[in-house]
């Protein structure tokens, strides 16, 4: 059965752990396979049950105090040993402290004083931060890219380096990225390069190159991907924008624009040559 192979990947998809291309593949498979869709829904239900239930085991009262006491004891022991080894001379009044490990209770009080505020702050922070695992990484990436594209169209956001010269744009990225983006110009074909900028998508820095086709702007995102077999172009449409995604020579390319699909494809073909 074809689905056997997908069954495992379904979990990566559910957990939002698949790369963009793989999660698009799974999405396409889900459209045509009611069994896998059903399977996914069941696991989503199970996950909801997990999240809504009281399975999380919080530390019992008293454990924290116990731990603090044992840490204080440990710290006291270390210090007494350090003081001995260092041959540090202490005033006679401190003799008790040096001659025996510091009372755990004293140090514990100290620890507790510092800790109470920190723990309270951490607790409040924890309560305030929502756990947001309701989307998959595939969707997230596509959405992030479209969001980044839309953001770039706002005044002043489009370009960090404005140049129609690829030999200006490419070196500009030096030292700003951990890879060398592929920069080409297609002015002769009617898709001039107008600039580039550094952007942040899929939790990493990416190169964003800006091309123009008549009144339409194309953002071409590039970022490296380690597990890098080449992947043919696939098309996605999100919020009225067209996206083309492909992988070549260890680099992910994603072109986004409101340009019509056939011209965007023409652009991607030139880029791949």
């Amino acid at each position: 059965m074809v689905c056997d192979d997908n069954a495992r990947w379904l979990h990566g998809y559910l957990d939002g752990e698949l790369d963009l291309v793989r999660s698009l593949e799974i999405e396409e498979h889900l459209k045509t396979c009611p069994e896998c869709s059903q399977e996914l829904r069941r696991h989503q239900t199970l996950r909801k049950a997990f999240r809504s239930s009281a399975l999380y085991e919080r530390a019992p009262r008293g454990l924290e105090a116990r731990i603090r006491a044992s840490l204080a004891n440990e710290a006291g022991g270390v210090e007494a040993a350090t003081a001995d080894a260092g041959g540090e001379v202490r005033p006679p009044t401190d003799a008790k402290v040096v001659s025996m490990p510091i009372s755990p209770r004293r140090v514990a009080l100290n620890w507790i004083a510092i800790a109470a505020a920190v723990l309270l702050a951490a607790f409040i922070g924890w309560r305030l931060i929502p756990r947001s695992d309701n989307y998959t990484r595939g969707e997230l990436t596509a959405q992030e890219i479209v969001a980044s594209h839309i953001r770039s169209l706002q005044p002043g956001h489009l370009m960090d380096v404005q140049s129609t010269d690829q030999h200006t744009v490419k070196p500009w990225f030096n030292g700003r990225l951990d890879f060398a983006p592929n920069v080409k110009d297609f002015a002769e074909q009617g898709y001039p390069l107008v600039g580039g900028r550094l952007d942040y998508v899929t939790s990493r820095s990416v190169a964003a190159l800006v091309y123009q086709r008549r009144q339409h702007l194309i953002n071409l995102y590039e970022w490296p991907e380690e597990s890098s077999s080449d992947q043919a172009v696939r098309a996605v449409s999100l919020q009225g924008y067209n996206m083309l995604i492909w992988r070549r020579g260890g680099i992910y390319y994603c072109a986004v624009s409101d340009l019509n699909p056939s011209e965007l494809r023409e652009f991607s073909q030139m880029m791949q040559q």
């Binding site: 752990e17 239930s53 019992p60 044992s70």
Partner: protein, 192 residues
Amino acid sequence: MAEAMDTAREAGRPDSQAGARFEQLVMPHLDAAYNLARWLVRNQHDAEDIVQEAYLRAFRFFGGYHGGDARAWLLKIVRNTSYTFLEKRRPGELAEEFDEKIHVPERDTTDVETALVQSVETRMLQDALAELPVNFREALVLRELEGMSYKEIAEIMDVPMGTVMSSLARGRAKLRELLLQGRGKEGLRGLR
């Protein structure tokens, strides 16, 4: 009293910076540490001892912590401490073999199954999770209760990321199977 505090503070000076960092980075994850230990050894008292031991180890080896996610760093220590405990006290649990065949119910029961899983009670889920082999239980706890990424889980369990995904796939399938069986027993009990 104030004098006593001053003395303690002064004596604690060489370690006070590391102590404050430990306090800030490691202490907040006590619940996470306990949750993992509790699910691995399935017993409150042993879990408490393990967490205490793990914190002591974490404190001793805090010099070896060079940034990164402190929770993952601590959980790895908790995990290793738990496994050491299991190896010594209950080696049988680690050797537990999992039936590779997953008995996925017939397709035509799917709607019934969805309804079952939807109405699943905490206690049933608790029992089913506790029954899973330790490595699947561990992967599920880290993923579903701690919300950790495959990368973090792989780091903690010391396995490749692909293994994390398979463990989750098999753990979830087994969990569902146990839930369905559990519901069957409940039904019988209700009849008697």
